[in-house]
Symmetry: C2
Subunit: 213 residues, 2 copies
Amino acid sequence: MSKLRCQISVSVDGYVAGPNQSEQEPLGEGGERLHDWVIELESWRRAHGKEGGEVNASTQVMDETLENIGAAVMGRNMFGPIGGGPWDDEWKGWWGDNPPYHYPVFVITHHEREPLEMEGGTTFYFVTDGIEAALERAKEAAGNEDVGLWGGGDVINQYLAAGLLDELELHIAPVVLGGGSRLFEGVGPDVQLDRVRVIEAPGVTHVKYRVLH
Amino acid sequence: MSKLRCQISVSVDGYVAGPNQSEQEPLGEGGERLHDWVIELESWRRAHGKEGGEVNASTQVMDETLENIGAAVMGRNMFGPIGGGPWDDEWKGWWGDNPPYHYPVFVITHHEREPLEMEGGTTFYFVTDGIEAALERAKEAAGNEDVGLWGGGDVINQYLAAGLLDELELHIAPVVLGGGSRLFEGVGPDVQLDRVRVIEAPGVTHVKYRVLH
């Protein structure tokens, strides 16, 4: 059966973005340090149209993480700048004309909007009737493949608290952010985890959990 | 030079104790689950006068963690029940007549009290003039060995924020607590960490960091 799989970079103190997120600093103050490990990778650079980069223990993790994904769900704050406003009908996401997804992405928002077809196979659909509806549509679109949940923190926390997430992979960066968007905020002790795998890689520790239902 | 080394079990959501700590539940609601991995160990059981137990990847971690320690500092809430009150002159800690330390332990408190000599080489000293004074006295007592910082969360956060900690080893348990005593509360992004080592063991992920100064 199609699973909902989340992977996200997190600081040692549990934040997936730093304080004061804005259009200029979408990951908040210091938040870009969470991704130092990934932007060095050859595979990441290739997916983003860049040359060079490293192959290391994170390469296999990212390959695994991205394989067998047929659709994704995403929070509104991951699609566009925090604060909302008039960006809704102009904004096409952070990723340029050819986003690195290449599958349907369901954006959870309060603002209705027509689907936005990008180059390379990514289409953004805007879902206004909540996280369960978004997941249902994404699973339908994914067919036999899984659905990715790529952020932000608030939406991940909602799926976790609702018992809808099947897999959570944390990329723990050796960074203290001291504030911002905290993973597990509002998530209670009824969420049961089973650790699946640990991989030590340069500048990051990958820990994958299965969420028990 | 003598280092200040901390090791502590922490939940996936960053708590070192659950909510509502009390004399009956010193680790708060659900908090004892943080230590499921350690109480299974043969080495832990032996240190606490029990027989049997497992030898696994955590055994070496705990051996390393406890070696070359000549003294420790500890918060008042780790020594006695939260809430304070009249326990001060009667209470002898949670560990019975022969605590598993066997070296001088400096308890940071607001209440003056005579040193408390226990069996097996542990003496509790009560320090009322703050974390720096406690560390200074512990380093003096430790000589060429290191000083252990064994909790609780509030005192660890104070040492971290003050830039006095040299090493932090987290034993990440696959547990969500949803509230309680949060590690890194009040600790800012000026704390720089360098990851030293990762060990995957049954029911726990050990991640050791060096704190850069």
